[in-house]
């Protein structure tokens, strides 16, 4: 029973991280109908930004958090402005956008190494208490925090997208840019903000992962690729779906490693991904916004 509880809690924690990544994917897809392969590296970027503000500049953690959020937001927006928009304007086939985000992911990984070196950077703990024990299961405080943060972000984003004027504008410009434009919506700005938001959500995940695993250049790449499974399982483009999909993925992985064999842990994500794509591509939430099915 104790084992089950340990696995359950840890699965939820790692699932929360996958959920955050999947949230980014869904957000971008929802608002621009595109797919980014650089989302995992935004996690890495966030972790290194955290090191820069928190360790190098010695700023208080909250300030560092906010600055990381803002910097990542600007980076995401610059990416959209400089690369994605330029490509969209040239009316290219979407594969170029996918490839451009892959190029960006190479650049982030290797730039991080050029600046910070290849040594794993030590990210000091963020909270005054190192560990928390819940239901007899001890975990790092950051692990629980990342779970709470993912849930809060999910709800906030959902409300933002459905209840605010701005969110509606964003959804509108994703659905039909021309019609949205004629309604007076600044579509270019809203997609820019979406990409920025996706980047900053991932950067927060990076800030949480840093103290847990140390910061290295490929910190986010595996997590980023697995995050796709979370997004597809929940229904690509659905905020709640992304979260639920991420959690399910985390649980599936942890239980396989805990009860069967750790060797198969990483295959589970891709098997789930491909099975869902073939059998139920709209995900458990049966997302209607998907145009690719």
């Amino acid at each position: 029973m104790q084992t089950f509880l340990t696995l359950l809690i840890s699965g939820l924690v790692i699932g929360g991280i996958y959920g955050l990544i999947a949230l980014g994917y869904s957000l971008i897809y929802r608002a621009s109908g595109l797919m980014s392969f650089a989302q995992g590296d935004m996690v890495t970027l966030g972790a290194y930004l955290g090191i820069f503000y928190y360790v190098w500049l010695g700023l208080p953690i909250l300030v560092a958090l906010v600055l990381t959020f803002i910097t990542a937001f600007l980076f995401g927006m610059a990416l959209e402005r400089g690369v994605i928009r330029t490509l969209l304007k040239k009316n290219v086939i979407p594969i170029y956008i996918v490839l451009a985000t892959i190029a960006v992911s190479y650049i982030i990984q290797n730039l991080a190494q050029a600046v910070f070196g290849s040594t794993t950077q030590w990210f000091p703990q963020v909270f005054p208490v190192a560990n928390l024990t819940l239901f007899g299961v001890t975990n790092q405080t950051e692990a629980y925090a990342s779970f709470v943060i993912s849930i809060i972000l999910m709800i906030a984003l959902h409300l933002f997208m459905t209840k605010t004027k701005f969110g509606t504008a964003m959804r509108g410009s994703a659905m039909d840019p021309l019609a949205a434009e004629s309604c007076g919506i600044n579509t270019s700005l809203s997609t820019g903000i979406t990409w920025g938001l996706a980047a900053s959500i991932a950067s927060l995940a990076g800030m949480m992962l840093g103290p847990m695993y140390g910061v290295f250049t490929t910190l986010g790449s595996t997590i980023g690729r697995k995050g796709f499974a979370g997004a597809v399982v929940g229904g690509y483009g659905n905020m709640y779906g992304a979260m639920i999909g991420g959690l399910l993925l985390g649980l599936a992985e942890t239980f396989v490693a805990g009860y069967i064999d750790g060797t198969y842990k990483n295959q589970i994500a891709y098997i789930i991904l491909i099975v869902f794509l073939f059998v139920k591509p709209t995900g458990i939430f049966n997302e209607k916004a998907i145009q690719d099915v």
Partner: protein
């Protein structure tokens, strides 16, 4: 339009020419070698040269080992050249990045071999890359040292041009088991990575356990890119071992120790190599990293003053002076030892050709950073004596000293364990 076609063709020809010439320039022995493409980290020496090519993982995950190894080699080369080089020939090192891909390593090695102008080849810290490459190196009969610690690639006795100046994990694994028995334990759980070194060391360890009568309660595996080990750890805990042995790689060490401690395990943890400062930081430092024991020729120093071995201290000081920091990874020691063993061989041989160097290496006996390097037993390996350490409060203590000072009783008292 025709002009455009010609322009494309011209551009292609130019690229071809550049590649061909760049290649030509770097493989041209001595004289006016064009070295502009080498990133300016080798200055062109006058007169005769001894050209060493290295293949190391300089980018990607776990590239810290490759970069440290590279710095260790370059420091040794600097010192060797100051003292006359290899029989008067200036040593020149050219590094190639394998990006952590075995295939890239093979390509790079093929490049070095088909150029046919490298006097020796060193690499890689990653044993799977060494395994993939040494066949081709030996076919071409080029003097070669490997930097990995896995036993696998030294098992083949036909690889007579390949030597190793670092340790063989399969020689260490039985000593780890001896240490476990010395502490009075009779069961152990194994956690290993699926990389070459991790898996082969765990194989050797498991075999030694069986031979020496230590029960393996469970053996868990993980991917070298994994960061969450809860599943494996809960299986380890429920098998209730006396101690845990980890045979992992790079970025997985720190998180594994931290998560193992968080799961409530306070006992001793065996490690296949020294537990470097980088890992300690990620693992959360003391008390998480307390009571990690290992058998290894080297210790990863975090402070020069901790070091009491004279030649190691001299190396650390020289390293600090050269790079402004202590080695981030113990592979720097391996790279340095490798160069020193080669240098010693060149002194004995009195010549720099592959055959003479290969034969002379079997006579090398010299002081290395991890004790005496002795190649005379014909195994093509330097080290056969190792030290046992235990990590307590961030300090590496010799196990015999630790036991003599009542460290074990203290361990029982602090952790509240009966074993």
């Amino acid at each position: 339009m025709k002009r455009r076609m010609i322009a494309i063709l011209l551009a292609l020809v130019m690229l071809f020419g550049l590649v061909a010439c760049g290649n030509n320039g770097t493989t041209n022995n001595g004289g006016t070698t064009n070295n502009s493409g080498e990133g300016g980290d080798t200055t062109e020496p006058e007169g005769e040269t001894f050209r060493i090519g290295t293949y190391l993982q300089l980018t990607g995950s776990n590239s810290v080992a490759g970069n440290s190894g590279k710095q260790g080699i370059e420091l040794a080369v600097k010192q060797i050249n100051e003292q006359g080089g290899f029989n008067g020939a200036t040593v020149v090192v050219e590094n190639f990045d394998t990006q952590g891909s075995t295939e890239e390593a093979v390509k790079v090695v093929q490049k070095m071999l088909s150029g046919d102008n490298y006097d020796a080849i060193i690499g890689s810290v990653n044993s799977n890359e060494v395994s993939a490459c040494i066949g081709y190196i030996n076919e071409a009969k080029v003097y070669n040292f490997g930097l990995g610690t896995s036993a696998t690639w030294m098992e083949d006795d036909s690889m007579i041009y390949t030597f190793r100046a670092s340790c063989n994990n399969n020689r260490i694994a039985p000593l780890d088991v001896d240490l476990i028995k010395e502490l009075g334990y009779d069961s152990v759980a194994i956690m290993n990575g699926t990389d070459d070194t991790g898996a082969s060391t765990a194989d050797a360890f498991e075999a030694a356990c069986e031979e020496k009568g230590v029960t393996v309660t469970t053996r868990q595996q993980c991917d070298s890119e994994d960061t969450d080990f809860t599943g494996q750890i809960s299986q380890i805990i429920s098998s209730d071992p006396d101690c845990v042995f980890m045979s992992l790689i790079g970025t997985t060490f720190g998180p594994f120790v931290k998560q193992l401690r968080n799961s409530g395990y306070k006992g001793m943890i065996g490690c296949k190599e020294c537990f470097s400062a980088e890992y300690q930081n990620v693992a959360g430092g003391s008390p998480n990293t307390d009571y990690i024991f290992y058998v290894y020729p080297y210790v990863a120093y975090t402070d020069i003053n901790d070091c009491e071995i004279p030649n190691m201290k001299a190396f650390l000081e020289a390293y600090q002076a050269e790079y402004g920091e202590l080695p981030a990874h113990e592979s720097a020691y391996r790279g340095y030892d490798t160069m020193m063993a080669m240098w010693e061989a060149s002194k004995i041989a009195g010549a720099n050709d592959d055959e003479s160097l290969r034969e002379a290496t079997h006579q090398v006996v010299c002081e290395g950073l991890g004790g005496t390097m002795d190649f005379t037993d014909g195994s093509r390996e330097a080290y056969s004596d190792f030290y046992s350490f235990v990590l307590v409060g961030g300090k590496d203590i010799l196990v015999e000293d630790w036991l003599a000072d009542g460290g074990y009783e203290e361990y029982l008292a602090t952790t509240g364990r009966d074993r």
